[in-house]
Subunit: 194 residues, 2 copies
């Protein structure tokens, strides 16, 4: 399903499945539940997905591909590391809201994957972190980086972004624009020498 | 069980139960599994805990009480807000390691609690965040706080701390002392005018 319509349908199926798995927990969700939620027969779902575990893997893989396509790719042309990092954080927070917080909330369930699948997802997260670390290293070379550990700092930055999914409530009156701005400013303030 | 021995036994039971729930997921863990893991009969466990849901509630309540006792209480005498915040972050990261990362990892499962139980835990987390917000407000009054939203900033700080449980791996060679220092420095750098 590589057509735009197919991709949109995939996104819809993955989002619904992610939402159900977050709500009930991985162990509490069956292939029957998933099929019903996405409006397929169980046989129809098995045509696309081999197992519940495969579904979890496909969803997390899809989410990481989304970050690659919508965060990493668009900033490749930005040579200034400070501006690149600002834009990465901005696009990542935007992506959380555009695709649904359930994708971020589902990541802890990756412990239920097969070791080989866990390795694939782990490597995709590491590749993403590498982009952050690379920008931090460039800032350090320019003498603009605070005296902080680059590896730990990259993880802290990622936690402030993905962590939004864990505390954000629609009814609290915090707008997406405000959160984008605040998350960029908090992290840039942390890492830049002033 | 209010004796020190009773408390230590509670901590041990809660930690083992938390660990199992994190590993298998709330839905994938039965009262029988929990009883076996903590070395009790099912009947023996039911003597202390009414249900799996009650166990989850007791664990999260215990974890929040720990923060109250080991982070909030000890810093009450520190009048300087910057020093108080440094010490809060330091003690919180220390507590993660002292009591086990499984407690932090279990918090997303609070969605499986009854609404009334969720409200209790939510309020305990809010009370904790209030202490961070209070220190940030004092810093702002002293003209030392960056131009950031206090509420969003408090959540970001908490995510960098609790988030450690999500990415920390023992085999990566990052020591606890280093993490404590880096987490304090990252957050203080974010919030302080320099």
């Amino acid at each position: 399903m590589a057509t735009p319509e197919g991709q949109a349908r995939n996104e819809e199926v993955f989002r619904t499945a992610a939402s159900l798995m977050v709500q009930r927990g991985y162990a509490g969700t069956s292939m029957g539940d998933l099929a019903k939620a996405v409006g397929m027969t169980k046989a129809g779902l098995y045509h696309h997905i081999n197992s519940k575990q495969d579904m979890l893997f496909q969803i997390l893989h899809h989410a990481m591909e989304g970050l690659e396509r919508e965060v990493i790719e668009p900033v490749k042309g930005i040579s200034d590391p400070e501006e690149r990092l600002r834009e990465m954080i901005r696009l990542h927070v935007r992506g959380l809201f555009a695709h649904g917080l359930e994708f971020a909330l589902l990541f802890p369930e990756r412990r239920h994957l097969e070791p080989a699948q866990q390795k694939v997802i782990y490597q995709m997260v590491e590749d993403y972190l590498d982009q952050i670390r690379h920008a931090l290293r460039e800032l350090a070379d320019e003498g603009k980086f605070q005296d902080l550990d680059i590896n730990v700092t990259a993880s802290h930055i990622l936690q402030t972004i993905a962590g939004i999914a864990r505390w954000y409530k629609e009814d609290k009156g915090v707008t997406e624009d405000h959160l984008v701005e605040q998350t960029v400013n908090f992290n840039l303030s942390a890492i830049l020498k002033q």
